[in-house]
């Protein structure tokens, strides 16, 4: 369809622009927001590739959860940009080497015959009622059920590890026990004192 091409270029341009803003913007909060925009454009591109389930999950997981926590942290930090920039030159050589290596690897993989346009022709478009989610579920829960469960176990272990690493008992933390609070009766807190009424005194004490 001819409408797809302009839509693709629209999202692709935004994606590339947002991704370059992530590394060039000086304010870390704005950089994080640019990353959100990059994720969003990438999700739109995935939907354009008929991978609507993956696109929406990218939004849900990365934009909706991960980046919110990221922003949360970045906003709380008081980052001194001048201090950060002072050591910038020191890391340039090693950073350059890593970048060059990554570029070389990408060129080797993407330039190889397996990944060029002849090796990867466009898949046939699916009919409108084709359920991407159902197809993915069928694969994940039958053919790839063991890798899938392994990934789940790895995630669970990492959750437990993260909590174990950061959980520490602090002496000055005050805890509330809601069950105890609910169980409180009047007699625990208030003492009623019975005393006889007294006549009002005359002037002077």
């Amino acid at each position: 369809m001819d409408l797809q091409l302009p839509i693709f270029y629209f999202f692709a341009t935004i994606l590339v622009a947002a991704a370059s803003l992530v590394v060039t913007l000086r304010n870390p909060v704005k950089a994080a927001l640019a990353l959100v925009l990059a994720f969003f454009s990438a999700a739109c591109l995935w939907v354009l590739l008929e991978a609507e389930f993956l696109g929406i999950v990218l939004l849900l997981v990365y934009v909706g959860a991960v980046m919110v926590l990221f922003l949360f942290v970045v906003m709380m930090l008081d980052i001194n940009i001048a201090q950060l920039r002072s050591g910038f030159g020191e890391y340039l050589p090693i950073g350059g080497i890593v970048a060059a290596l990554m570029l070389l690897e990408m060129v080797l993989v993407l330039g190889a015959s397996g990944f060029d346009l002849q090796g990867m022709p466009n898949p046939a478009p699916q009919p409108a009622d084709y359920s991407n989610t159902r197809a993915l579920g069928m694969l994940v829960y039958t053919d790839y059920v063991y890798p899938f469960e392994l990934a789940a176990v790895v995630l669970l272990v990492s959750i437990v590890a993260a909590i174990a690493l950061t959980l520490r008992k602090r002496k000055d933390t005050r805890y509330q026990n809601p069950a105890e609070q609910m169980a409180v009766r009047r007699d625990d807190r208030v003492r009623l004192v019975k005393m006889p009424s007294e006549a009002k005194r005359e002037s002077g004490r």
């Binding site: 609507e52 909706g64 922003l71 991407n132």
Partner: protein, 351 residues
């Protein structure tokens, strides 16, 4: 889709001229949905103030127009002609972008909501996921508003709101997992169709705990009383939108009410059988829409009822309720459902 829009007096000629033009019909559908949202918000603002007034033995607005009916319009005009103030040292672009970022996902989510069997703008396969994803986008506007305002109160409100939305989204997502296990589909239209056959087929019965978790989490997600710590007038003035005035404040207000209507619509679709009649059997689209609105109104009434009667939750109580009560309840019920469906012959109870 949206054929009934052609019966509207002004839109009829446009439909006749361009009946074949798909883009135009989508555009028309979008206009109808936005007008619907504006009307709902106007009605709700008036209804809420009157209802809360009656519940608290006050009169509520009764001066503008008969019974105060024009109060919402008067408020809108007042907000429109007020000045938009950008605070000193605020980040001007982000400050003005924030209300739009709150409103846009709230409106975009309506694209996949079915008002009847055919009355849906985009019958997307994964419409439930789409709504969940857009609902999680709304938090950005709140965070950005709090940060860009350059104000302590706004920032505190934004932090509270972000923590609250992240916490309740998980419980909400798990409650939806139960619904899609029962229906076997992510498509809202199919979820409603799976509940056809009368009131006993509605998912509110087999999924009762999930229904309560979903609706209460929905109240928390929209930052409504009793979960409105993000605004907490008595503690942090007005929370994240303390620096906003005029139309930029009105957009936040508008988005909050659109989100309320959305939660009510989703509760209706997923637990009360959407447009279906409680007595079973087919209904005409017109009656279906009326039924849908009737069920939705009940939930909207509940929103106002809560606001009029409950005191605000303490912040730590909100976090406890979200993480330690709702998430375990949903997980247990999902596990129970899965076990019954897979290991016993009583799985039909759930679908």
């Amino acid at each position: 889709m949206f054929d009934w829009a052609c019966t509207l007096p002004l839109a009829g000629w446009a439909c006749d001229l361009y009946a074949e033009q798909r883009l135009l019909r989508i555009g028309l559908g979008i206009i109808v949905l936005v007008v619907f949202c504006i009307l709902m918000v106007l009605i709700m603002v008036y209804a809420e103030r009157r209802l809360v007034g009656f519940m608290q033995l006050r009169k509520g607005p009764n001066r503008v127009g008969p019974f105060g009916l024009l109060q919402a319009i008067a408020d809108t005009i007042k907000l429109l002609i007020k000045e938009v103030i950008v605070p000193t040292n605020a980040s001007p672009i982000l400050f003005l972008l924030a209300p739009i970022l709150v409103l846009a996902p709230a409106l975009a989510a309506w694209a996949v909501v079915p008002f009847g069997d055919q009355l849906v703008l985009a019958d997307v396969d994964a419409s439930l996921l789409y709504i969940l994803a857009l609902a999680s986008m709304g938090v950005y506007g709140v965070i950005i508003a709090g940060w860009a305002s350059n104000s302590k109160y706004a920032f505190l409100g934004a932090m509270r709101s972000a923590a609250q939305i992240v916490a309740y989204e998980i419980a909400m997502g798990f409650a939806l997992v139960g619904v899609l296990m029962a229906a076997g589909s992510l498509n809202l239209r199919e979820i409603v169709l799976a509940q056809s056959g009368g009131i006993h087929q509605w998912y509110i019965w087999p999924l009762l705990p999930l229904f309560f978790v979903y609706f209460i989490a929905g109240v928390a997600e929209t930052n409504r009383a009793p979960f409105d710590v993000a605004e907490g007038e008595s503690e942090i003035v007005a929370g994240f939108h303390v620096e906003y005035s005029g139309i930029s404040f009105a957009l936040f207000f508008f988005a909050e009410y659109v989100n309320m209507v959305m939660i009510a619509a989703l509760s209706t679709l997923m637990f009360l059988g959407g447009w279906q009649s409680p007595f079973g059997g087919e209904v005409t689209p017109a009656i279906g829409v009326i039924l849908f609105f009737g069920k939705m109104s009940f939930f909207l009434f509940c929103f106002m009822w809560f606001r009029a009667t409950f005191p605000r939750y303490r912040y730590d109580q909100i976090m406890r309720l979200g993480w330690k009560v709702f998430i375990p309840v949903t997980l247990v019920w999902i596990g129970l459902m899965g076990g019954v469906m897979f290991f016993t012959p009583y799985g039909y109870v759930f679908h």
